[in-house]
Every structure is written in C-alpha cells, then in structure tokens.
C-alpha cells in the first residue's frame, strides 16, 4: 500500500506505509518549519519552500534511480539491489533531519555539520525508531554522512556513496530543480530524467557512471549549480542577510546554542529539537531587538524588518586552487581587519559594517583537478565525488572521469572556484566605506 502526495516539481511523490509513518515523527514534521534556503525569501519572495518537501523529493529521485537499476543490464546485481535498496531510500528520506534553522546560515554559525548531526540524531534519539526493524540505524547514519567503510570495516560499493554524496547525487538534483521551480529562476532546471536514464554501474569499484551521450547533460548540471550559486545563493543581498544572522548568532552564545549545547538540551528535554526551528530563531531575534543593551540589537531589528547592510565593496575571482591567490588573500586580510575594528580611520564601526566571504567550487573535486592528480591512487584520493563516464561504444575497459574528457566543459572549469569577498555597511556609510576600501586597495596594491 502506498500514499501519493502532490509535489510541485515531480507531480506526485509516493511513500509506502513505513515512510508515511516516519514522516509523522515530530523531527521530520519540524522540517516544515525549516525554510530550504534560509533568508533567501527576502530576496526572492517565493522562496518559501521547506526541507520537508525537499526530503520527499530526494526520496522520490532515489526511487527513480533504483527503479532504473531494476534492469540488471545497467550494472546493479539483484543481490546489491536487495542489500542497498531500502537503506538508500531511508537515508534519502532522513538525510536532512539534522538540519539547523534557516538551513546553512545557522549551521555555519553553530559550527555544525547537518549530516553528522543528523547521523547523531538517528543513532541517539527517537527519530531512529522510525526505521523498520530490518534497517540498521548505523547503516543509515553512515549513508547520510557518506561513509566509505561499512559494517565489519568493509568497503561499500562506490555507487552507494555516490547516489547520496557526489557531484551527481539525488540531493543536489532535487535542490537545484526545487529551488529553480519555487524561486522562478530557470538556471537550476536540469535534465534529471536524462541523467538517471544514463546511469550505469561499472568498473572494479562498482562506480556510478553516466553513459557518454549524457556528457552535455552532466555538464549542464555542473553549470546549473554554479549559476544557482552565483545568481541566487551567493547573491549580495542574500549574502548580506546571512552575514548579519551569522554575526548575531555567534555574538550571543548565551542565547543561540552550539552543537554540544544542543546535544545537552536534547539529553535533558527530548522535545528540544522539535522546537528548534526557524520560528525559534525569529522569536530570539525579537527578544534581542527589544534589549537595548545588546550590541547586536540593531542587526536583530534590521532582520525582523527586512533591512540589510548594503554592499560597499567586493572582490570576485575565479581561480584555480593551486594558485596561491596573493591578491585575494591581501583583500581578505584587509576585510578581516575591518571586521575586527583594526583601522581607526575606518568610517564604519563595529555594528555598522560586516565583511565576509563565500566560495563557489565548480566541482567537488576542484582541489584534485587543480593539482592534476585525477584518479591517481598514489595521491591517495579515489574521487567518488566526481562524475564518471562509461562508454561501451568507445570500448573503454574502465570508466573515465568527466573532467578528463576534452569534450566536457567540466574539463575547462573543474579545477576552479569563484572566491567572493565582500564588505557590507549601513546605508549611511556605504559611500564612505567604498572610498575607504578603494584607498586601502590602492595602498596595498590589490587589484579589484
């Protein structure tokens, strides 16, 4: 018996009885109160979708992928399907149960990793009890964190990890599609059906590969991700709000908890995690906004009223990771000094200015591409994150990395990342800050 739920990306998603029961758990229902993109709705008002929808979507894509592999000629044996089907579906469903409020904003501020925290929740709290009896909690938590070693310290087949965590994983596919549909921006509209239909499992490590005819689609997905990052997630306005929220979070350790404090809270009150959601954060911001003695009171008021610090200056550079990047580093030292109040002649003071940075890697294997050690076992990195390509018609004995193929755009861009460093200030001091940073850049010979 299964339940069909309407979804604005796929039409319908389907859940079996155990899954329906699982999503009723308070920790899963909590995901309805965690916006997928944190404060992005301040920039794109339609960005109100949540982690609950996304979790169902990832589960749906995993089902599509596994349904594709029911055709054994695509490389997944019946034994492997029987062994990994259910764990992969459960990991896909529960992969975000450890997400912090406002998604990655508060996670970064709390020094947390939502996958590791989700794994901890599954192993230590009642959410792990939603799993059917024949599913091992440890297995699910390891799939969520992308652990390569399985039980008995054996190595899992690569495809198991890759379906959950790689440049081609179901999580990434869903968030690109879902964000694109909900925000109303086309960049994330990837050819997911073509990609899944091109999936093969091959090679000695049982790698998840795509057929070579899907290379343009895979390139499109990498490019889509970069476009979504540069135009949406790392947009200067969204970034400004994130920087402000991060600052308020970190500056109020007595109010906003760290990861270990959250674990202590949960130990004392099992329901704490249920209530630790976006609403909890907004309530705390409201308390801070009423406390005139709190130095972050101004930012709290601004966040509550959809006001943000304005971009005064920025440096953006696409560079290969092997490049030492002295120009960017000098800029970072400058902006770090601004953050710390190091310059007495800086027009904006602490509480009026924030500097921060963001990085957009073209590919998860950018470091390895950058130093040219692709697939070299001597380097010690086997690259399960990468996209691998198989080709029967070209008679390849083993799959090849997409990034090594001259016909692929990833070949050109894979080893690079876009580094963005920005200075934001209150509106009244924006022009003065711009002039100040310009002058400092000239003095320090920073190109901007």
């Amino acid at each position: 018996m299964s339940k069909q739920i309407r979804d604005n990306v796929y039409g319908f998603v389907e859940l079996d009885d155990d899954e329906v029961k699982a999503i009723g758990h308070p920790f899963f229902q909590r995901l309805r109160r965690i916006k997928q993109n944190g404060l992005l709705e301040f920039l794109y008002p339609a960005a109100k979708h949540d982690r609950f929808q996304h979790s169902l979507g990832v589960n749906h894509l995993m089902k599509l992928a596994l349904r594709h592999f029911e055709n054994e000629s695509f490389g997944m044996s019946r034994e492997k399907m029987d062994e990994y089907r259910k764990p992969l579906l459960w990991a896909a469903l529960l992969h975000d149960v450890g997400h912090f409020p406002l998604s990655h904003t508060c996670e970064g501020a709390a020094g947390a990793n939502h996958e590791q925290f989700g794994a901890w929740l599954i192993e230590n709290t009642s959410v792990g009890e939603v799993l059917p009896r024949d599913i091992d909690k440890k297995e699910i938590s390891q799939l969520i964190t992308g652990e390569i070693l399985g039980k008995d310290l054996g190595q899992r087949p690569w495809f198991v990890r890759q379906l959950m965590k790689s440049d081609l994983d179901m999580d990434r596919m869903d968030y690109l599609l879902r964000d694109s549909v909900n925000i109303g921006i086309p960049y994330g509209n990837i050819g997911y059906t073509q990609l899944i239909r091109s999936f093969r499992i091959c090679g000695k490590d049982e790698k998840l590969c795509i057929e070579d005819k899907a290379i343009p689609t895979a390139d499109g997905m990498e490019l889509a991700r970069v476009s979504m990052y540069t135009q949406v997630y790392a947009h200067k306005v969204n970034d400004s709000y994130s920087q402000m929220m991060t600052y308020v979070y970190k500056a109020n350790p007595g109010i906003f908890p760290s990861v270990n404090e959250i674990k202590d809270h949960i130990a004392r009150d099992k329901s704490f995690w249920e209530g630790f959601d976006d609403i909890w954060i907004w309530n705390k911001l409201r308390e801070i906004s009423k406390d005139d003695k709190n130095p972050t009171n101004r930012y709290a008021k601004m966040l509550l009223n959809r006001q943000h610090l304005k971009l005064a200056h920025e440096l953006k550079e696409w560079k290969p990771l092997k490049d030492r990047g002295e120009n960017y580093l000098k800029y970072k030292i400058l902006t770090d000094g601004i953050n710390r109040g190091f310059y007495p002649d800086c027009p904006a003071k602490t509480g009026e200015v924030l500097a921060g940075e963001t990085k957009v890697k073209y590919s998860d294997i950018a470091p390895q591409i950058s130093i040219g050690v692709l697939g070299e076992e001597s380097e010690g990195v086997s690259l399960p994150e990468a996209i691998w390509v198989s080709s029967a018609r070209r008679c390849w004995n083993e799959p090849k990395l997409l990034v090594t193929l001259p016909e692929s755009l990833t070949n050109l861009m894979g080893g690079k990342a876009l580094f963005i460093s920005r200075v934001y200030s209150i509106e009244e001091k924006r022009e003065a800050m711009r002039a100040f940073v310009n002058a400092k850049c000239d003095e320090l010979k920073i190109r901007y």
Binding site: L149, L153, K322, L329, A366, P367, S378, G380, V381, F419
Partner: protein
C-alpha cells in the same frame, strides 16, 4: 575563512607542515590535522573519510590550498592568531609522536607512517565498544591497504595507543 585558515596554518607550521607543493607535504598535512583533532585540538576537525590513502578530507584540501598564501605573508600580516594555551599539550604530544615515528622504520617516509597511525585511529573510532579493537584493526588494515601488508602493525598500534585511547 581567513581566521580559520590562519589557525590551521599556525598549528601546522609548528610541526613544519602547511605547504602543499609535494605529495609528501599534502599527505603530512592531512594526517597531521586528523591526528591533532583527535588528540586535543578538536576545532580543527573536518569530515574525514576512508579514501585510498585516507583518512582524507576534500574540504581540508580546499582550505589548505586557499590558505597557502598565509604562510607566505605571515611576516607581513598585521593580524595574528597565536597558538592557544589549550593547544600546547596536543602540539607537544604530536611532536613526541613525530619524534617516535622518525626513529622506527627509517626507510619509510614519515607521512606514510602517519597514514598508518591515522588509519589505526580512524578504524578504532568505528569499531563498537566491547570488541577487541586491536585485533579488528590488525585484520582490517592489510585487507584495506595492501601497502601495509608486510608492516609490523603491533609496533604502530602500541605507539598509537600512547596518544589516543583505542
């Protein structure tokens, strides 16, 4: 990131690490951060995984590359992040570990010996309590890493257990 990168480079440079020019340096940095995060500098932790020469963290590699300029520019920087008092015991222990590793099996590279120590700790973290961890590690390492097949694992288990509770 700059603050974190500065801390990363400050800690690594105490043991002459930090550079990413050669394979040996890259391996040293990865294993040093892993071991240090387990023996007393937890905020250096990254998500590590079992790669061919793991434990290895792609995120750490990314940060190390981005922070390379810090080593070049340290003498010019106006900001400094001194080693914290709480780091000193771990750094001293790490130095002692390196000293021990340099003495045994001198024909093997230091970074390879660090790989073995880090592998022991990584596996120990994943073996449930109550199991005979040394036995499980002795069985797993030659199976998972062929290049350690002929090594005297007991020696390294003994060293590892001095610095990390197996």
């Amino acid at each position: 990131m700059y603050e974190h990168g500065l801390r990363l480079m400050s800690v690594l440079s105490k043991s002459d690490g930090g550079r990413m020019d050669t394979f040996q340096q890259r391996m040293f940095n990865q294993k040093a951060v892993f071991i240090l995060s387990r023996i007393g500098i937890p905020d250096l932790d990254y998500p590590f995984n079992w790669y061919v020469r793991g434990p290895y963290s792609p995120e750490l590699t990314f940060d190390l590359y981005e922070s390379q300029g810090i080593l070049d520019m340290r003498k010019q920087e106006q900001l400094s992040q001194p080693i914290e008092a709480g780091d000193v015991p771990a750094l001293n222990a790490f130095d002692n570990l390196l000293r021990e590793l340099k003495i045994i099996d001198p024909e093997q590279g230091l970074e390879v010996k660090m790989e073995l120590i880090a592998s022991i700790i990584y596996l120990a973290e994943r073996i449930p309590a109550g199991n005979d961890k040394p036995a499980a590690i002795r069985e797993a390492i030659p199976r998972l890493k062929e290049h350690f097949r002929d090594w005297n694992l007991d020696k390294y288990l003994s060293i590892a257990s001095k610095y990390y509770r197996l």
